[in-house]
């Protein structure tokens, strides 16, 4: 019984990680219609820089998360201005093709260059927090913190998007790009902001990821694909949807592992993905794509 409960707790906490990792991807795709295949690589960079920050400067990982958010934002904004902005005006098909090629190309460049400079070995941040045990169930505090951060971030982003001027500009551009321009919104700035937030979230999550697990230069693409499944199930462009998607997948994996054997749990995520696409293509909370 207590094992079952432990698994549930574990799934919830794991779901928080998936959610946080997937947020950025969802935001960028929902608003800009760009599939950022290099998303996972920003996560890796965040983790790697967090590791170096701790090792060389003794910077505490929680501080690093903040630093990585800033770094990720700046890098993402530059990424946008330099590359993505040039393809935004194209037709739907051409843009899809171009965004795939560009982000995939950037992903390869990041991975290979990092591998070349860093040396390719896996590494992680040696940061632990004490654990709290309540009635036979253990709550690893680092993960609980992560859950807390995720919830806070969800609320913060929600308020940001619906209450602040920039946030509403972002939403407006997402719903009706042409209308947004007519109303006087600088869609380029908005796009840059959105992209920057997306990569910032990835980098920030990277610090957590490196503390909980380990990172290595070539891990980016498979992570991106995992998060893609999360956001599709939850609904492209919906942040609460990403949360639901994340928890759903984490729970499915954990319980499949427990009842059916761990070798089937990777399949579960993709079965859910396909079922979701068949029966509710816009995702659980999504608003659909044109």
């Amino acid at each position: 019984m207590s094992l079952s409960l432990q698994i549930l707790i574990g799934a919830i906490l794991q779901g928080a990680l998936y959610t946080l990792g997937a947020f950025g991807l969802s935001l960028v795709f929902g608003v800009l219609r760009v599939l950022n295949l290099s998303h996972g690589d920003f996560l890796m960079l965040g983790g790697l820089l967090g590791f170096l920050a701790l090792k060389s400067f003794g910077i505490h990982p929680f501080v690093s998360v903040g630093l990585m958010l800033v770094f990720g934002f700046i890098a993402g904004a530059l990424y946008y201005i330099g590359l993505i902005s040039r393809i935004m005006h194209r037709g739907y098909h051409e843009m899809l093709i171009a965004s795939v090629m560009i982000t995939l190309g950037v992903s390869l460049v990041i991975e290979d260059t990092t591998g070349f400079l860093w040396g390719g070995g896996a590494t992680g941040i040696p940061f632990q927090m004490s654990n709290v045990a309540i009635g036979g169930v253990v709550f690893p505090m680092l993960r609980v913190t992560l859950l807390g951060v995720t919830i806070l971030l969800t609320i913060a982003l929600h308020f940001f998007l619906s209450r602040t001027l920039i946030g509403r500009a972002i939403l407006a551009s997402a719903i009706n790009p042409v209308g947004a321009v007519v109303v006087g919104i600088n869609t380029e700035m908005v796009a840059m902001f959105t992209f920057g937030i997306g990569t910032a979230l990835a980098a920030g999550t990277g610090v957590f990821y490196a503390s909980l697990y380990s990172i290595e230069p070539f891990m980016g693409l498979s992570l991106t694909i995992k998060y893609l499944a999360v956001i599709v199930i939850g609904g492209l462009g919906s942040l609460p949807g990403a949360m639901i998607g994340g928890f759903l997948i984490a729970a499915a994996e954990a319980y499949t592992s427990y009842f059916g054997g761990a070798e089937w749990s990777p399949m579960v995520a993709f079965i859910i993905l396909i079922l979701a696409l068949l029966f509710r293509p816009q995702g659980i909370l999504g608003k659909g794509l044109s």
Partner: protein
């Protein structure tokens, strides 16, 4: 929704000159003669090149005409390889195993088609990628059938010559098949789906039927070359068959060469295969990064692919080629109108 028609394509109408046919003839002769030379590295190189052309051309049969990007196209290859491996180790007969592989691939396409074609755009692509990953996990877990993570291994035979020529035949078949579709009523129907699926439907085009048909057609040759590949290399594992690499490569090659034309995917496959060869054989470090830079450059400057790029078209014309054997909404409709009025 539809893109502005790029100018250079209309510049490529007309009969190709004799010079062009000579070039094609020379390439064909070189291809046929290569394995005759003893112990030749190029035999191996061309073998993989033919496979790349087949994968890219057949992928583009779906993506180029209907606009649906099938990220799971590599699955037809992978399942062909596995099916061949499983069949040959039980029957020992190529005559049975190769058609079996083709059959399995086509059946897979059929199973995929009906549920997945209800989705549009990016959702379809993600779902097809999901199918690929699903097959990967199945290959990993059905250990008794597939060998799991150890992979499937068969006894090597003296297969270099027959597999080479079979791959060459498949390559030629893929190009000709693509050309046939381009000039046929199937191609026209698919084009109408690409332009506006709902209008096409209301005009009497059974979209689901055509999309499924072309998907199944596009799966046959990959299944075939998957079997031939397995015959030659004697080893397949889940990652080689269903990995992300296998998924993205035909897509990138087709996009690079020029999706929606007959010659575009072929050019893309040739260009990227040569590029990879040069990069990996002659440069020691950062080849993936350079490869990535090329991808970014193509995405930025040549989204229509090489075949639609002004500079490339000039080279193409200079070599004597005129017709890129492509489809083009206007030109196909023009053909159709002409035959109607004839």
């Amino acid at each position: 929704m539809s893109n502005a028609q790029p100018q250079p394509m209309s510049a490529l109408r007309g009969q190709s000159s004799i010079g062009a046919w000579l070039v094609v003839g020379a390439l064909a002769t070189i291809s046929l003669a290569t394995p005759m030379v003893e112990n030749n590295y190029y035999t191996s190189f061309m073998f993989f090149l033919f496979i790349a052309i087949v994968m890219t051309s057949t992928y583009d049969m779906v993506a180029g005409y209907t606009g649906y990007i099938n990220l799971g196209h590599g699955a037809f290859f992978g399942i062909g390889a596995y099916s061949y491996g499983i069949a040959i180790s039980r029957t020992g007969s190529n005559l049975l195993s190769i058609p079996f592989a083709v059959l399995v691939a086509v059946v897979l396409a059929g199973l995929m088609a009906y549920p997945l074609f209800r989705l549009r755009g990016a959702y379809f692509s993600i779902a097809t990628f999901g199918v690929l990953k699903l097959l990967s996990v199945l290959a990993l877990n059905l250990r008794d059938l597939t060998g799991g993570t150890t992979g499937l291994s068969i006894t090597p035979t003296d297969s270099t010559i027959p597999t080479y020529y079979l791959a060459f035949v498949a390559c030629a078949a893929a190009i000709l098949l693509n050309r046939w579709v381009a000039h046929s009523w199937i191609g026209l129907a698919l084009l109408t789906i690409r332009e506006d699926e709902d209008v096409a439907g209301s005009s009497g085009v059974n979209a689901l039927f055509y999309k499924s048909a072309i998907l199944m057609l596009s799966a046959a040759l990959p299944g075939f070359v998957g079997a031939v590949f397995m015959w030659q290399t004697t080893y397949i594992d889940p990652d080689s068959a269903f990995g992300s690499n296998v998924a993205f490569t035909p897509v990138i090659m087709a996009m690079l060469g020029g999706s929606g034309t007959v010659i575009g995917p072929v050019i893309g496959a040739i260009f990227l295969t040569f590029l990879q060869e040069v990069l990996w054989s002659h440069i020691g470090y950062l080849q993936l990064a350079m490869y990535g830079v090329v991808l970014v450059a193509v995405g930025l400057f040549m989204p229509g692919g090489l075949i639609r790029n002004r500079w490339f078209v000039r080279i193409y014309r200079a070599l004597g080629f005129r017709d890129h054997y492509g489809y083009h909404a206007n030109s196909l409709l023009k053909d159709f109108k002409e035959t109607k009025n004839a």
